[in-house]
C-alpha cells in the first residue's frame, strides 16, 4: 500500500490550490453544498415550531405560518409535476396552477396536526449525496426513544437546492401519492383527480376549524 506516501499531502495541497485558481479564473463555482443550505432552513422550521406564539394561533393561522416558512425551500410545482406523472405535460398552465395550489393545501392541512406533537425534537444530518443537479440530504429526527430517518430530495435551481420529495423511513411521499393518483387518472381522468383532491382538501379544512 502506497497510501501513506510522504508526497501525498503536497500533491493534495497542489490540487486544492489549482482548483481554487481554476475557479477564480473561470468564475464557475462548484454547486453549493446542499446540507449547508438545508441546515438553516430546517433550523428555521424547528424554531418556528417551538415558538410559543404558534401555539396560541388558530389551526388555520398555524398552518398558514408553517407553509410560508416551508415554501422557502420546497418546490411544490416540481412535486405536483411528479405526482401527476406523464399527464402533467398535457395540462394547461391554468390547470397546472390549480393542481399545484390544491396539492400544496393538501399537504398544508394534512400535516397541521403534527405541530402539537413537536416537543423540541432535534434534527441530525447524517449524509448527503449529490448527482448533477439532484441531491439527497439524509437526516435523523431524534425523538425520546426512537430516531426516524428522513431524507430530503432536492433539485438545484439558480444555485438554490429546492426540495421536491421527502422520504420518511424509506417511504417517498411523492411515489406514494403518484401511485394513488395514477389509479385515479386511469379510471376517472384528470377531472376526476381534481374533484377528489378538492373534496379531500375541503374535508381537511372542515376538520381544521372544528378542532
Amino acid at each position: 500500500m502506497q497510501r501513506n506516501h510522504f508526497l501525498t499531502p503536497f500533491l493534495y495541497a497542489a490540487l486544492m490550490f489549482s482548483l481554487v485558481v481554476l475557479n477564480s479564473h473561470t468564475g464557475v463555482a462548484a454547486p453549493p453544498d446542499p446540507t449547508e443550505q438545508l441546515r438553516p432552513f430546517l433550523d428555521k422550521v424547528t424554531t418556528t415550531l417551538a415558538d410559543p406564539k404558534l401555539k396560541k394561533m388558530t389551526r388555520q393561522e398555524q398552518s398558514d405560518r408553517m407553509i410560508s416558512v416551508i415554501r422557502e425551500r420546497f418546490d411544490f410545482r416540481e412535486m405536483s409535476k411528479r405526482v401527476v406523472g406523464r399527464q402533467w405535460q398535457s395540462l394547461s398552465d391554468k390547470e397546472q396552477d390549480e393542481f399545484e395550489h390544491l396539492f400544496t393545501r393538501l399537504l398544508q392541512y394534512a400535516y397541521v396536526g403534527k405541530i402539537d406533537e413537536y416537543s423540541g425534537q432535534q434534527i441530525q444530518f447524517t449524509q448527503q449525496r449529490v448527482k448533477g443537479d439532484r441531491a439527497e440530504v439524509q437526516t435523523l429526527l431524534v425523538d425520546k426513544n426512537k430516531s426516524i430517518p428522513i431524507s430530503y430530495i432536492a433539485l438545484l435551481r439558480n444555485d438554490q437546492w429546492m426540495i421536491y420529495d421527502v422520504v420518511a423511513e424509506g417511504v417517498s411521499l411523492v411515489r406514494n401519492y403518484m401511485e394513488q393518483f395514477n389509479e385515479i387518472l386511469r379510471k376517472d381522468g384528470y377531472p376526476g383527480l381534481v374533484k377528489q383532491l378538492k373534496e379531500k382538501v375541503a374535508g381537511l379544512e372542515k376538520n381544521l376549524t372544528k378542532s
Binding site: 448527482k131 411515489r175 406514494n176
Partner: protein, 271 residues
Amino acid sequence: MAHRLHCLARRLGHFYLLPMVATMAFFWGSAAAADLFDNVRAEQAVGTVDFLSDESYEHPTADVKVADPIEPFNRAMFAVNDKFYIWLLEPVATGYSKILPGGLRTCIGNFFYNLGEPVRSANSLLQGRFRDAGRTLGRFVINSICGVLGLADAAGKDFKIAPVYASFGQTLSVWGIGDGFYLVVPLLGPSTLRDFSGTLVDGVATTTYAPWSDDTITTITVQGIRTVNRASLHIGEYEEIKSLTFDAYVAFRNGYYQIRSKQYDHSNSTK
C-alpha cells in the same frame, strides 16, 4: 453447573448450535473473507431505489411494483383487517395502554424483538451477511444479559450496535425466489406470497426456542399480547395515515413495498 447448561441447551432445542456457529462467524466476520463476501452481496443487491434518478420515479422497478392479480380478494382482506383494527385491536390496545406506562410497553416490545435475534442471525448467515449475523447475535447476547432478558436495548444504546433487518422472506429473495404476488393476510396485513411463507418459517423457528413453546394456547396468548403491545405504541397512527390517502388500499400497498425495499437493501448497512 453442567446440569444447568444441559437444561439451557435442551430449552434452546435445535437452535443451541446456532449461537456457536454464529459466534465463529462473528470472529470470521472481522476477517477479510467477510469483506469479500459483503462485496459480492452488494453487487447482487437487486433493483435498489435511487431517489436521484428520474428513471426510478417514472418507471418503478420490480421491487417497488409487484403484481397484484388477486386484487379483489386483497381489497376484501384489507377491509376485514381495517375493521378488525378499528373495532377490536385499537380499543383493546387503548385500554391496555392505560394500565401499563409507555416505558414498560417499550420494554415489552424490546423483549419480543430480542427473542427474534437468533432467527435474524440465522437468516443473515443464510444470506452470506456474516458481519450482520455477528451483529444480531452480539445484540442478542448483550441484551439478554446487560438488558435483562432483552427488556432494554443495551446493545443499541451503550454498545452502538444498531438493529439489523433479516427475515426468511429476504433470504428466499437472495436465493433468487420471486415475490409471487401481493397478498393481504387476514390479521397480519400486507405481504407477498414469498414473504408470507418466510414469516411462517421465521415464526416456527422462533417457537423452537421460545420459552412458551409448550402448548398452542400459550403460544396464541403470547402472540396476542405481542400484537396488542405493538398496537399500543402506535395508537391513532393508522387512522391518521388513512385520512391523508385517496385510496387507502393502494397507499398501503405502495408503502409496504417501499419500506420493504429499504429493509432489503443492505448496501448501506456495512459502513
